[in-house]
């Protein structure tokens, strides 16, 4: 059973999402917080597989929360999906750099939401054209920045991002680059990892 924790201050939306989870057989929502403080307290207790969180909350910015649970604790770490109204690429990128694994758009249908959560639990990272464009700009065209973080995009990652930025969805990207959708998702995940200098350091430290 997949466990999810929801951080959302809008009661209408929260109700809708919780409803969708209830109807799903393989997903269970273990907790819901409208405030950061509550989420901070409950998350270590519930240890959900996926953290679905809004960015702007009444008592602060969820990016802090992402930073706390996305990078520091190597032993337990939820898959974090940023749950935003629409493509606010700069903020979403900030969230990814802080440790989020993906970005999910509000206002989609229930099946899409559940698919996204399942994908996140499998380690897939949803990506939008806008995010791909920003990442290409940040890592592809700035060797100095990349060198500082020790991360450079591989040619395959660049090709994936370029197609995503042109509007192709995961399956189409796979077709065009002769790879499976899973491989595409793995590349995107790797790219996200390269955006997270702090996490890269932690992982590198744990390996050595």
């Amino acid at each position: 059973m997949l466990t999810v924790y929801l951080v959302e201050d809008d009661p209408l939306l929260a109700r809708h999402v919780l409803g969708a989870f209830q109807r799903a057989s393989d997903v269970r929502c273990v907790g819901h917080a409208a405030r950061l403080s509550q989420a901070r307290d409950e998350l270590p207790l519930f240890r959900p597989d996926v953290l679905l969180t809004d960015l702007g909350l009444p008592d602060g910015d969820a990016i802090d929360l992402i930073r706390e649970f996305g990078c520091t604790d190597v032993a337990w770490r939820p898959n974090i999906l940023v749950f935003s109204v629409f493509g606010d690429e700069v903020r979403v990128l900030e969230a990814i750099e802080s440790g989020a694994d993906g970005y999910f758009l509000k206002g989609c249908s229930d099946p899409e939401l559940l698919d996204a959560v399942r994908g996140a639990a499998r380690g897939e990272s949803p990506i939008s054209p806008g995010i791909a464009r920003q990442v290409l700009r940040r890592l592809g065209a700035a060797p100095a920045h990349a060198a500082a973080g020790g991360a450079r995009l591989s040619p395959a990652e660049q090709a994936v991002l370029r197609l995503v930025a042109q509007g192709y969805v995961t399956e189409e990207v796979g077709e065009r680059l002769m790879m499976t959708a899973h491989t595409v998702a793995t590349h995107v995940r790797a790219v996200y990892g390269k955006l997270q200098p702090a996490r890269t350091e932690v992982l590198a430290g744990s390996v050595s």
């Binding site: 809008d10 209408l12 939306l13 109700r15 809708h16 409803g19 702007g56 935003s84 109204v85 629409f86 493509g87 606010d88 758009l105 509000k106 206002g107 989609c108 249908s109 229930d110 899409e112 939008s128 054209p129 806008g130 464009r133 370029r162 995503v164 930025a165 042109q166 509007g167 192709y168 969805v169 189409e172």
Partner: protein, 630 residues
């Protein structure tokens, strides 16, 4: 030879006579008839000469003034001039003798009695030959008639021994003459020496402080001149007297060279060639004066002075030509003053060196005054120009400060504009955030609610479905608006990608599959931001039409680069394919307005749009001219 009153001495040129008269007139005005007209003064202009070196030779009759240096064969030793005193002198109350010039060591005897002795017979001899001499004759020694005056002169080579004409007569007449001569020859010399020394020191000080060599040359020339004017009165004939004499002769050339360089600097012509010329002149003069000093050839001094005169005349002509060619007032003044100096020098040279007028005095020493005036003029000019430059510099400085101030104000304004822009950007970001968190959130919530309602109440389901569709549209519209506020440049493919990301959920909800095909050659095409926005609106309209009216299952979107520009095609397999004969827009009033909008937008960006049936369905083809994209 007896004459009453003052008479001109030598058969001089008309110029000399004229100048002398002018000078006398000035003196007469100055002295206001000091000399009584009736007083007796007689100029003796001949004498009998006997040389001590040749006691056996008969007395020679010579006319005065007698430049012994030039007339005596040996030019050393002693010679006696015997003169007859007219009887009238014996009858005067205070008989006297006035010698304008005699030298170097001499004794005056009256009727065999020594009445005056100047200097001693020793080597080297003192140099007394530049001062006038006045001797009162003791009446007791005078006989009523046939008085005889013997002037014994001891001379040395190069010391210019000789005797001027001799005046005898009444003291009333001779004393003023003596005073006048003393003023001109002795006091004037000291005054000139003092003035030159002052100007010399001043010039060197100014040169030192201003680092301008023009003042240095002037100072040097003045110091040399001061020494020359003073050296005339050097009566101390010790062992270095010969050295002084030689230095005196040679210093003239140094003075001329210094003055020449001073004048050239004044005229801004002090080239290295000019310096070499004056150096050469000094070397030639040195050679001449050394030859004269070593071998006693007076003509060498004459040649040397003639050379100096030639240089002065040359300078005059050179400066005059500059003044003439450049219409330069300063050069003209310089030429005039140097010309005056050269004329005076020429006069001295002719009278003293060519005519051997032993009684004449040099005038040249006074011409330094002319040069002092030139210098003073130069200093005043410099001072005035410096003041003017200072004033100009001040004005420029003030203007520069004002300009800088204006620049600063502009920079400040620019800074404020940037700050305003930044404030506007911050405000835009705030609005964006509010739209994200406020309106967007509410819309999302409303859609979610509609979805829930759609699932429950059967009668209202269709209505709620329509509401949800409308809300979806609002949301997509809002997202497109937000995208349009993005200030970063995007290429067309990226903008279309955003559109797909926004519209895809609606397409999927309507059961339509979107086949996405952006050709590689068109992937990086760029459009102006406003054009991109219009293209997105057209595409959005086309896709909305597909969702609402086409009843299609697949829609193809293709971006490609063609010969005449970019081509963007939206093709669906909708109603038209299934009912090809029916015009698609006819039963759909809303679609009609939509099509008009699309055409209007395409026109606005100069694009060609084609909307209509296609063998596979319905096509909207937008062609962007190559000129507007890159």
């Amino acid at each position: 030879m007896i004459a009453a009153g003052h008479r001109t001495a030598a058969p001089a040129s008309w110029l000399q006579r004229w100048l002398r008269r002018l000078l006398l007139l000035a003196w007469a005005a100055a002295c206001l008839g000091v000399a009584p007209a009736h007083a007796l003064s007689i100029e003796l202009r001949e004498a009998w000469l006997r040389e001590a070196a040749r006691p056996d030779a008969p007395e020679a009759r010579v006319s005065l003034p007698d430049p012994w240096e030039h007339t005596a064969p040996s030019r050393a030793g002693s010679a006696s001039y015997r003169l007859q005193v007219p009887d009238a002198v014996a009858a005067t109350a205070r008989p006297a003798v006035f010698l304008r010039r005699v030298g170097n060591v001499f004794r005056v005897h009256l009727n065999g009695h020594l009445v005056r002795e100047v200097g001693r017979e020793q080597h080297p001899l003192p140099n007394y030959n530049q001062e006038p001499v006045y001797v009162a004759l003791p009446p007791s020694l005078l006989r009523p008639a046939g008085n005889e005056l013997v002037i014994e002169v001891t001379g040395e080579p190069r010391r210019e021994a000789g005797l001027s004409s001799v005046w005898v007569g009444d003291a009333d007449a001779l004393e003023p003459m003596y005073r006048r001569a003393h003023d001109v020859q002795v006091r004037g010399a000291w005054m000139i020496a003092a003035a030159s020394a002052t100007m010399g020191v001043l010039g060197l000080l100014v040169a030192w402080r201003t680092r301008q060599s023009v003042y240095g040359w002037f100072g040097l020339a003045n110091l040399i001149w001061a020494w020359r004017a003073g050296a005339l009165q050097v009566n101390d004939g010790r062992w270095w007297a010969w050295l002084l004499q030689w230095a005196f002769e040679f210093s003239y050339s140094l003075f001329i060279a210094a003055i020449g360089l001073f004048l050239l600097e004044m005229a801004r012509r002090a080239t290295s060639g000019a310096r070499r010329f004056f150096a050469g002149y000094v070397w030639v003069s040195l050679a001449l004066s050394l030859t004269h000093a070593a071998f006693n050839v007076p003509v060498m001094r004459t040649v040397s002075l003639g050379l100096t005169l030639a240089v002065a005349v040359g300078m005059t002509l050179f400066l005059a030509s500059i003044a003439w060619r450049q219409r330069d007032r300063g050069a003209a003044l310089l030429a005039a003053s140097v010309g005056l100096c050269a004329a005076v020098g020429a006069r001295d040279w002719i009278v003293l060196r060519l005519m051997h007028d032993y009684g004449a005095y040099t005038w040249a020493r006074y011409v330094i005054v002319v040069l002092m005036v030139v210098m003073a003029w130069r200093l005043v000019e410099d001072y005035g120009r410096t003041l003017r430059e200072l004033r100009d510099a001040n004005r420029h400085l003030r203007e520069a400060v004002e300009a800088k101030q204006r620049e600063l104000e502009q920079a400040f304004e620019a800074q404020r504009a940037i700050e305003r822009r930044q404030a506007a950007t911050a405000e835009r970001d705030r609005i964006l955030r509010e739209m994200h968190d406020g309106l967007g959130g509410r819309l999302v919530g409303a859609i979610a609610l509609a979805r829930q309602l759609q699932q429950h109440e059967a009668p209202a389901r269709a209505l709620v479905g329509e509401l949800r569709q409308a809300l979806d549209d609002c949301l997509v519209e809002l997202r497109l608006s937000l995208d349009s506020m993005d200030t970063e440049p995007r290429c067309l493919s990226e903008a279309l990608a955003e559109l797909r990301f926004r519209v895809e959920p609606s397409l999927r909800a309507a059961g339509i599959r979107l086949v996405w095909n952006l050709r590689d050659d068109a992937a990086d095409a760029m459009l102006p931001p406003t054009d991109t926005q219009q293209v997105l609106r057209i595409m959005r309209e086309a896709l909305t039409n597909v969702i609402k009216h086409a009843q299609a299952s697949v829609v193809w979107l293709e971006l490609a680069r063609r010969e005449h520009g970019l081509e963007l095609t939206v093709l669906d397999n909708g109603l038209v394919q299934r009912a090809a004969e029916r015009p698609r827009t006819a039963p759909l009033p809303g679609g009609k307005r939509g099509l008009a909008n699309m055409r209007h937008r395409a026109e606005a960006i100069g694009a060609h749009i084609e909307i209509g049936p296609h063998p596979e369905g319905w096509v909207v083809r937008l062609t962007l001219p190559a000129g507007r994209c890159r």
